[in-house]
Amino acid sequence: MKIKRYTLFSLLLIVVLLLAACGGNTTDTGDTGNTGDTGNTGDTGNTGNTGDTGDEMMEEDPWGYITFAPGESIKLAVSSALAGGYAVYGQDMVNGVELAIEDFGGELMGFPIIVEAGDDGCEGAPAVTVAEQFSADPAVLGVIGPMCSGSVFPASDIYAGNNVVMITPSSTAVIITARGYQNLFRTVANDDLQAEVTAGFLAEDKGVTTLGIMHDQSLYGEGIAQAISDKFEAGGGTVTAFEGITRGETDYSAVISEVLAGEPEAVYFGGMDAEGALLINQLRAAGFEGIFFGPDGIKSKPTFIDASGGAAEGSFATFGAVAGAVGAEDWATRFAEKYGDPVAYGPGSYDSATIILQAAEKVAFLDADGNLKIPRFALAEMIRATPYEGVTGALQFTETGDLAKVSITVFEVVDGDFIEVKTVDFGE
Amino acid sequence: MSSILESRSLTKKFGGLLAVNDFSLEVPEGSISCIIGPNGAGKTTFFNCVVGFYLPEEGEIIFNGKPIQGMPPYKITGLGISRTYQNIRLFSNMTAIENIIVGQHAHTKATMIDAVLHTPKNRKEEKESVTEAQRLLEFVGLSGEGDILARNLPYGAQRRLEIARALANKPKLLLLDEPTAGMNPYESAELTSFIKRLRDELGTTILLIEHDMRVVMKISEQITVLDYGSKIAEGNAKEIQSNPKVIEAYLGRGAASGLSLSRD
C-alpha cells in the first residue's frame, strides 16, 4: 500500500508540474493576462466576449463579419500536428506564423493578434474536430493549415461551411483545390507541377533514362512519387522500380537492394526528410553512385543534409518557391535565430499568415462602437485579388485557390547546403 | 449387465513416453468402478482420452455402442459423459447457480437471436434452467447457496458443486477424478455415501480415480489397477487387496496393514 500511495503521489506531482508548465503557455486562451515568455503580444485584460456579428451590417457581406470588441485579441489559427510523430513540422508552422505576426507588428488597428494552435495529428478525424473548434470560435480570423492533405479534405468541408478562410502551406494533392471552395488557398505548387519539373530536369538536364522510384506510402509521398512516375514515363523514360518503405524503420537496405537490382541511373524518393537521409546514406553504402532526387519534403538542412552523415552531398530536391526571393535570406537568418533552422513549412506558413493579415488590414473597419469588423467574403476576395511578395516568392491566387504563378526551383546539395540549380516558372 | 464404456487396446503417447499402453477396460452400466494406481500411471490421461481432450494414438473407445475417439469434447459431453477434476476446476468467478446453468449448456438451445430478442422460447428455457439448477443444488446439499461465488464456497462444497455441475449435463456416465483428494476421513466418508446415492437414485454409471483406499474398497464394484500405463490387475476389492502385484506396485505392505488399522 505504501508503495502505491507513493507512486500515485509522484505521478500526480508530475501532472501538477506539467499543468504548471502548460500554464505558462496561455497565449492562446486569452482569458488571463499572460506571462508572455514567447515574444508575441502583451497583456490584455480580456473583457467578456462578443458573440454574434452585428445584425445591421449582415446584408453587406454575404459571409458575415468577424467582430472584435475593444481589447479583444484576433486569433490566427494553425491546424497541424503538434504532438506525436509529425509534430516537428507542425511546430515549424507555428513558428512561421508567430514570426509573421511579430513582423506585422503584433496588432491590427490596435487589436492584438495571437496564435491559436490546434493539434490535428496530421489525421482526418481530429482535423475535423479542430475545424469545428476554430469555426465555432468567433475570434478566429483565418486558419493556416491543415498541414496534411488527409486532414485538408474533411476539414475544408467544415471551414467552407462556416466561411472561414484557410491557407495550407503544405498540402500538394492535386484535387484539393478542385472542389470549388472559395475560402481555400494554398501557397505550394501541386504535385503535377513539381513532377513536371523533376521529370524534365532528370531527363533533359541530366540525361537520365532509367529511374527507380521509392515512396513512404503516405498520401503525400506516394502521391508525388506516382506523379513523377507518370511524367517520367510520358517523357520516354523507364521506371525500373516503384517500391514503398515503412515510415519509422531505419534499415531500408533490403528495399534498396531490390530497387538497385534494376540498375537505375537515378533514384527518386517521394517522402520526407528523415527517411530521405536514411535512404541516401544506405543507397551510397550499397554502392549506388547515381542521382538521388526528392520533393520539397526532403528540402531540409537539419533533417536531410545534416542527418545523412555527408551522404546527401550531390542530391537534388525541388521546392515550390523562388530561391533568393526578396528578403528571403535575411528572413531565414531571423527565423533561425529565434527557432533554429526552418524545417519545411516555416516559410510557407509565414507567407500564408502575412497574406491573411495584409488582406484583413485592407478590409477591416471600426464600427460606431469601436468594434473591429472584418467582412469574411471580402477578406477571401482580397486574398485572392492581391499579389504578394513573400519569402517563398511572388504569390498570386487563381479562382480555385491555387497559385496563379508558381516558380519551382531545383536545388542541389553542395558543401552541405541547398544551392539553386534551376528555376521553372509556371503560369502567366 | 452390458458395458456403457469400453476401451479397446487404448494407447496414448507423449513423446517417447507411453502414458496409456494397450489398455482395455469395460465399465458395466450402472456400476461404480474405480481405477487406482501410482502417480503417473496414466489414470487421468485415460480420462482425458475418454472425454476427447486427448487423441489416443491407437485403440478404440466405445460409449453406448458407438466409437467416440476423435470427437471433440463438447460433442462427447453432449452424448452424456461428464467429469470432475482432481484439483477442482469450477468457474470460480461465477455463482454456484451459474456454474450449474453452464453445465446444462448441451441441453439448452437458445441462439444469439433468441438471446438478443428475448423470444418466448428463450424466456421459457431460462426459467427452466434456473429451476433445474436449484433442484440440483438441493440435491447436493447446497440449497440457499446459489448466489455465492464458486470460489468463496468451502472446499467440500466446491467438490459437491463440481459434481452438481457435472450432473446438470444429465450424464449417463460420470467420471470423478480423485473426488476425496484433500479431504479428511470424515469428509471423504460423507462424499462416499453421496456418490453411492448418486448411482442409486439417478442410475448414473460412475467411474472414479481414487487414492484413498478406504473409499475405494468401500464403494467400488470393480477395481482396475494401472501401473506405467498398463493394466496390472482387475477385480473386486478383496481380490485387489490381496493381489501381490498390486501390493508390490501400489499399496505397499504397510498400507495394507494401515487399511486394517482403520478397522473399516
Binding site: 505558462g24 516537428v88 531505419t250 537496405s253 533533417t303 552523415g309 | -
Partner: protein
Amino acid sequence: MEFDFTRFAEQLINGLTVGSFYALIALGYTMVYGVLTMINFAHGEIFMMGAYIGLFSLNRMVDAGLYERSPITAIILTFLAGMAGAALTGVTIERLAYRPLRRAARLAPLISAIGISIFLQEFVRILPAMGEQVMGLRIAGNPIFPPGWQEAVIGVLEDFGGVQVKTYPGIFTTDGFYLGEVYVTYSRVIILVISMLTMVGLWLLVKFSRLGKAMRAVSEDKDVAALMGINVNRVISQTFLIGSALAGLAGVMQGMFYLQIRNTMGFVPGIKAFTAAVLGGIGNIPGAMLGGYTLGLAEVIGIQFLPAIYKDVVAFGLLVLILIFKPTGILGEALTEKKM
C-alpha cells in the same frame, strides 16, 4: 526477375542485421514476460531512451575532447551510458507503473505500459519546450530562476531531446569489403558481432549464473522462489535492468550505424521485436533470439518475391502460420498449453 545469388546473399546479410536489432529488443520483451507475464509495451521506448542518452553522453565526450583523443574509449563509454540510461529507465518504469499493478488484472499493466510508451515518446520531444516554460515561470513578475540558469538548463535539454531528428556523428563510414561478389560494410559486421556476443553472454548468464537461475525460478512461481530466499522484487528489477540494457545497446547501435534517432523510433522496432518474441515463444530466451533472426530473414526473403510494401504482411503472415502449427511459438513449450 531471375534469381540472383549475389543479391540474395546481400539480402541475407541485410536480414541478419535487422534481425540482430529485433532479437536484442525481443529479449527484453521475453525476459519481462517471463517474470511478470506482461507485455511491456513501453520496451520500444526504452530502446529510444538508450539512443538519446547515448548521444547525449557522446556529445559531452566530443565537447570534452575525449572523442578526439581516444575514439574507441568514447564509443565504448557511449554504449555503456546508453545501456545504463535505458536500464535506469526500465527499472524506474517497473517501479512506478508496473509494480503497483502486480496483482491487478492482466490487462491493467498492459494499458499502463501503453501509457508509459506514449508518455516517454512525448516527454523526449517536449522536454526542451517544457524546460523553457518551467524556467520562464515567474512569481509576481519576477523570474524564479536566474537567467544564467535558464540558458544552461534549456541548452542541456535541447541537446538531449526535442522535436527534431537528432544525429549521431558519422563515426562509421560506408567502408567495407568484398566477400566473394558481395559487398559487406564493416558496420554490419560490427553489429552482428556485438549482438551475437551479447546474446551468448546473456544466454550463459541465464543458464548458469545464480541470478539467471533465480530469474527462471521467479518466472515459474514467485511464492516458492521467495521460500528459497530469493528476493523476488529485486530479481524482477534486475530482469528489467538487463532487458532494458540490451534495448539500450540496440538503441546506441542504431544511432552509431544509422546516424539518425528520433522520439518515435521505438514504435516500429518495438512491434517487430514483440512479434519476434512471440514467434520464438514468448518467455523463452533462445526463442527470442531465434525469433528475431527468423523475422529479419523472412522479411528480406519475402521481398524477393513480393513488392516491398508487403514486407510487414510477410512478417505477420509468417507469425500466423507458425502459430497455427505451433501455438506457443517455435521454442515455446507445449507443456503449458494443456496441462492437467
